[in-house]
Symmetry: C2
DNA sequence: TTTGCTGCAAATAGTTTGCAGAGAC
DNA sequence: GTCTCTGCAAACTATTTGCAGCAAA
């Protein structure tokens, strides 16, 4: 996908424009976030980079995610159990479908929630800024396993 | 509202049926959960009870919430920042509207997400078991404060 | 050369757990 | 009288932070 390359360039550009340095560690993190294959966790990112960068520190992953989040270039999916998954490929809020067995996260193609959001806004008198919609279930792969 | 009384009775009945004892601390927690006015946090519940029960322990609140959750009689709204809010008045999944300033949580009247859920299920081949929908914004009270 | 970044280790904070005594039934 | 529950304090764990040295620009 060219898509990943575009996202990588956008994030790098934004980092430069804001005066941040491009360290090898940072580039490695941005590379993974731009792809965000399977919506990686901090640990996923850390272990993936650790293979080529044995001195890589978890703190560096956390710090860079905080930075890139502050630039609005990664969507953080935090869960109540403390786990976090990231989407730097599509950083705008969108629904997710999560397999509670294998933890796979999929982006469904859905009509946007614009109408529902307007309905909620007019009914509650809130100014709605953001939303989060997650569906939890079991993916077909896990359903197939009779184990 | 008679509603709160009914919920209280249902939760108490379920606790008894499962062989759990009704201690004063537990009754106090259930009373608050049955009402769930404003979707209380663990701290809210703890401090409210502490007034009449000076020895009340946070651990007891946590343990009882875990218990009542396991009976399916309270909906836990966990947030990525670690905060938790509870709804023991309506323990089935439903949308919430959250003020990011005053932390007020409101239940909007919305058409159910059944159709969207079916759409997601057929598109992704997941068996959907559950969902969560939160809208984040600013309530009219907080908008009015020009401070 | 300057300034921000990294790695390490220690600190943090909400939640959970072990244990001994108290209390519901 | 039995067995669960409670309160306390310690343990746990993901994330954050202080600091000294390192490296991008």
């Amino acid at each position: 996908m060219e898509d990943h390359k575009k996202r990588f360039d956008i994030i790098i550009r934004k980092l430069k424009d804001h005066g941040h340095k491009l360290t090898p560690q940072r580039l490695a993190i941005v590379t993974i976030l731009a792809r965000s294959e399977g919506h990686p966790s901090v640990e996923d990112i850390f272990h993936q980079i650790k293979k080529k960068f044995p001195t890589m520190s978890l703190a560096t992953v956390y710090r860079n995610i905080v930075l890139i989040k502050s630039l609005g270039e990664v969507l953080e999916l935090g869960f109540p159990d403390g786990s976090n998954r990231y989407d730097g490929n599509n950083p705008t809020p969108h629904p997710h479908v999560i397999c509670i067995k294998c933890k796979k996260i999929v982006d469904p193609d859905l009509d946007s929630l614009d109408e529902i959001q307007k309905e909620v806004a007019s009914e509650t008198n809130f100014t709605i800024l953001n939303h989060r919609l997650d569906f939890f279930g079991i993916c077909s792969d896990c359903m197939a396993e009779k184990v």
